[in-house]
Symmetry: C2
Subunit: 346 residues, 2 copies
């Protein structure tokens, strides 16, 4: 019996990078990795960019959402699909202008539930002024797909791209609490909380337009990297950055905003909360001279828990690593997550 | 018990139009149906267009592919996903430049099969010179999805759009045999043919770049509509056109190129071959003064069975209908397909 695909391959973790490297990245010629002058699969992010010829870039993203359950505390797969793709466009410095969706649903799925999901998606688009310009709709026979999966395409335009190049000296800034989405989904999957209450664990899923557009307008050239820490959480995002830029990133554990109930719950399950997904938070790498100002600006925009959590340093040792100054005073390596903490998280 | 989603809702048939109208089109404000100056969901096609500001249009399409089985005579889901999205871009008059993919695969799926599928996709991209600029990869636990589904985003640039406005007097031209893909998949699903032989039923799946780019360059303004007749086949495409343009389309049954084995097989199952999907054929509505020339041009490009199969007329009666002049001499209404002939055809 040959090798098979494992859950961990799809977890957005180290194993995901490995399988994609083996299946795709190593097989494709350089010239086919991007449109000339843009960003493609040689760029480790969820979005791609195509030059428009007038100095601007078209930003395009695709993501499939398979979250289980489709309704969860704080949102549903419709809000998640729309917000996730809008956020992917924003993190590359783009202004989201349009969305497309491809829905695959199981035969027998309640029409009322499908209507709720689509309504959620449309509500996000309406609030954000993003057009729904096309899509696809397929039904798979009963038992051939569990409930519903949605692939969404986010489309935006960027005057300048944020190309994820953290620079030595940069401060790492987060927009608020981390890990809320991951904790809420995990708790639902394990069956601890029900759809209604959530036991204080509520997904943070939301579009980050009102955060990112003003930030990019005001501090654009100072933002050297931006990511929404979804699958793999903060741990994955920072490891990607450290590896790609050949720096070392040092993070102060006590400075990272994590809700007590998320920390408690993660602790109970023996999971690192820094590897839990957020769906409504941003991590930025910004010039040190504006970092404090950026945090204040975020707070004024309503992101009350924004904080500086660490910094980027030129690597003497630990090149490409993320180091965590723990609350008790030690220094440990924060590794990129392995395995599959939570299947079908997004 | 409330209403549920049915297979027919996803068949690309009348029921699909109805559920999308009810769930999406009727719920969304006009301003959110497209990017200003472009084409969006108010346009009944698989692709959308966004003006680039210099007279050109960015063409973007999304489609999810769920074909069962993933390997079939003439191709696999990888070839299908790449070709289908390339063709959707071409049918809007675009030159395909990039693709993105979102793969969802079942835990336990053989890695070797996944590699074959991805290799197929990459081979198409390589042959077409289309870049793979990004994507997403998710794994669903065993039993939560049957094998694999791929959503692909096709991206292209059009100097001028083909906006599907058939005009009275136009001739309907097809590029070759119709229904090959649908017949091959249906036969595999029913179990009549195996993967190897196919009993003469072989999918026509292929990109149509070498047909459409020269055609658009030479006859662009004369091509008033273009479609690749996938789900719902020729019957669906022509009914869409007749309805949207308020014309009547009259088709000569004897002129439609259908392989004997496809006709035989469809006849045996009591299925109209005109409702079977093609994945490597084009249907065009072209000015009558160039129609013969277009057919000759297609033949020179290697599409030996290209033919004029009918014409568009100003509707006195039967406005919005498609009429079929049958081989035996009668005239019957060719209706848009209803129900689900073949689930998971593409």
């Amino acid at each position: 019996m040959g090798e098979v695909v494992k859950l961990a391959h799809g977890a957005g973790s180290v194993e995901t990078s490995q399988i994609l490297e083996s299946l795709i990245f190593s097989k494709i010629e350089e010239r086919l990795k991007k449109v000339e002058g843009g960003l493609g699969i040689d760029f480790p992010d969820d979005a791609a960019a195509i030059p428009m010829g007038d100095g601007r870039f078209l930003v395009v993203t695709v993501d499939s959402y398979t979250v289980n359950p489709p309704f969860f505390p704080g949102g549903d797969i419709g809000v998640l699909a729309a917000s996730g793709s809008i956020n992917d466009v924003l993190m590359l410095g783009g202004k989201p202008i349009a969305l497309m969706d491809a829905i695959i649903v199981e035969e027998g799925f309640p029409l009322e539930d499908l209507r709720r999901i689509v309504d959620s998606m449309l509500r996000v688009l309406r609030e954000e002024g993003v057009a729904l310009i096309g899509g696809d709709f397929k039904v798979m026979p009963k038992g051939q797909i569990d409930k519903i999966a949605i692939a969404t395409v986010g489309i935006g335009i960027a005057d300048r791209l944020i190309v994820d190049r953290p620079q030595p000296g940069d401060k790492i800034v987060v927009s608020g609490y981390l890990g809320d989405h991951g904790a809420a989904i995990l708790a639902r999957q394990i069956g601890i909380i029900d759809e209604g209450s959530g036991g204080g664990l509520v997904s943070d899923v939301k579009p980050l337009t009102r955060l990112m557009l003003p930030l990019v307008e005001k501090y654009g050239p100072h933002i050297h990297a931006a990511r929404d820490p979804t699958r793999g959480g903060l741990a994955m995002a920072l490891n990607d950055w450290a590896k790609a830029s050949g720096t070392v990133i040092i993070v102060e554990e006590s400075a990272i905003p994590i809700r007590p109930q998320v920390a408690y719950y993660a602790n109970m399950l023996g999971i690192d909360p820094l590897a839990l997904a957020s769906e409504g938070a941003a991590v930025l790498s910004v010039s040190p001279d504006v970092a404090e100002e950026v945090v204040e600006f975020m707070k004024k925009l309503g992101f009350d828990n924004a904080a500086i959590i660490g910094e980027v340093r030129k690597a003497e040792r630990y090149r490409g690593y993320v180091l965590l100054k723990t609350v008790v005073g030690g220094l440990r390596i924060l590794e990129a997550p392995r395995g599959d903490l939570v299947p079908r998280i997004c």
